[in-house]
Symmetry: C2
Subunit: 306 residues, 2 copies
């Protein structure tokens, strides 16, 4: 049995786990991210987290894999650009820092790619070779698996799923564009909308109310599902996946969100593709990130998908 | 030197050429397509065209490759679905028919994939490993090359570039959805719009007038360019290509269309991608299709991209 560490570095939390090559989690830990304090604070947290997990492990840890917010050059394991979530993060040679401190092989990719690989090996993507993973969190991210392999694009920037325009004259996005999918279906957008309409004070509350059959909350969830369906139809027509896996905080809504999304998606895709793409909730939930980090580590050791 | 036949079967024309492994065209022929008369009429034309080209060739022809309208299973070389452009086309085992009649290896793919491969090997994509080819013809099609390889998706349906929504409440598309890019930038859409606004009677006339600095025509071309830019921004954010190559009849507009498209594209893409994607006109023009057919044939012989 091989055991590795998988780490997920985000703007709101940092999580890590001891993961075997069969996908068993032997231990894990999550801490609130000190991202706002900048790069050194995050590197400090990372060091403590890896230390804790290593101390806790009963198996030898043979590699470390990290999925992180920001764009990554996976060859160098360095951050090539980042949003303001983690000040100073751009340029950080994360793999090198980690290798130097822990003396282990260390691989790094962006968090969307990592989570998709986590679902591909150990989660809702297990049965597929072509799938899209979309994460509805603070922002909307994700990744595309085509023939078992990540769609990376020239600079590993591909699959910015949240920043596809679905309404060119629509809502302003903090990326500078208008009508991005993210402005309709991110946790941030949904919370703002729920407050504006007096339906709920948070995404979580909205979800609770919708589950308790509050009509106002249910209607709003359906609207959000329909927006999501417009975006998913684009992804079906562009990537022709076998399945789309929806993760992130809002992904926890499950059928409340996915059923209206599926109806809209199938109304809008090309005729030959109608009803041919499965729409699934994440199987790994908020573990997808660090499980994906573990996949990066296992891949670097030459392990293949189980 | 190896010579092959490349064929391009479309709804309006059927074209073919004798092409060498270096991309030289030793002879070619184009005829108006009898697509409306259905499958057998098209197969008859195909047979005559291949006969003409074979008779004309001074080199041995060693393989045939065909790009065709409709969706294709490239493994079997059969049409899996088609629009009404060619009645009866769905199900046609094109590679098998061709092999039986001519006794040569025969490969088939859809016309978007073929044209993209043509540009990749011998045209505007020569210097790139990551690029998007978009064809603005009667409809809007295309293909995506990621790391030198076609993005196919699960059923070879990927990269239906014309059927991405850029305005979910927008114009009705004949695919059944609304606000598809195709409804803004196809030759059909542009002609309809030019007539409606009294700017010109055809796409060709619109182009001539814009070139002659007719203000009305110029303004309309800029509007179309901006719509195109919205779609291209989506493709940059999703595929992160080094370049986008624009072909098809409307692609002949060149800078008149591409410059406003480029401005809009760079306004809308993620910050890290601004100014980093080249926007190029097709280098092969209406030869892209049969040159791409030739690439299918050369690939089937084990030839690599020059």
């Amino acid at each position: 049995m091989t055991a590795v560490l998988g780490i997920d570095i985000g703007g709101t939390k940092i999580a890590g786990g001891i993961v075997t090559d069969k996908g068993a989690v032997l231990g894990d830990q999550t801490v609130p991210s000190r991202a706002k304090e900048g790069r050194d604070a995050v590197l400090g947290q990372l060091s403590i987290l890896i230390g804790n997990l290593t101390a806790q492990a009963t198996e030898d840890i043979t590699a470390i894999g990290i999925g992180t917010a920001g764009e990554v050059d996976p060859g160098r394991g360095a951050i090539t650009s980042a949003t303001d979530n983690i000040p100073g993060w751009t340029g950080t040679p994360l793999a090198e820092i980690c290798r130097r401190e822990w003396g282990l092989p260390c691989s790094v990719d962006n968090d969307g790619n990592a989570a998709a690989l986590g679902e591909l090996w150990f989660g809702a993507g297990r049965d597929f070779h072509y799938f899209v993973y979309i994460s509805l969190g603070t922002g909307v991210g994700g990744a595309v698996i085509d023939g078992g392999r990540l769609l990376r694009g020239h600079g590993n920037f591909a699959a910015a799923l949240g920043h596809t325009t679905i309404d060119y004259g629509g809502r302003s996005c903090n990326c500078g564009s208008t009508g991005c999918l993210e402005t309709y279906v991110s946790g941030t957008a949904v919370t703002a909308l729920a407050r504006e309409l007096g339906a709920a004070d948070s995404g979580r509350e909205l979800l609770q109310k919708a589950r308790a059959q509050d009509l106002h909350a249910q209607t709003l969830m359906e609207d959000i599902g329909r927006y999501l369906g417009v975006g998913l139809a684009n992804f079906v027509n562009l990537f022709n996946p076998e399945a789309i896996v929806v993760g992130g905080g809002l992904g926890e809504a499950g059928d409340l969100l996915l059923r209206p999304a599926e109806v809209t998606m199938n109304q809008r895709v090309l005729q030959g593709l109608r009803g041919r793409t499965r729409l699934l909730a994440t199987a790994l939930g908020n573990r997808a990130g660090f499980m994906g980090g573990a996949v990066l580590a296992l891949s670097s050791l030459g392990r293949a998908r189980p």
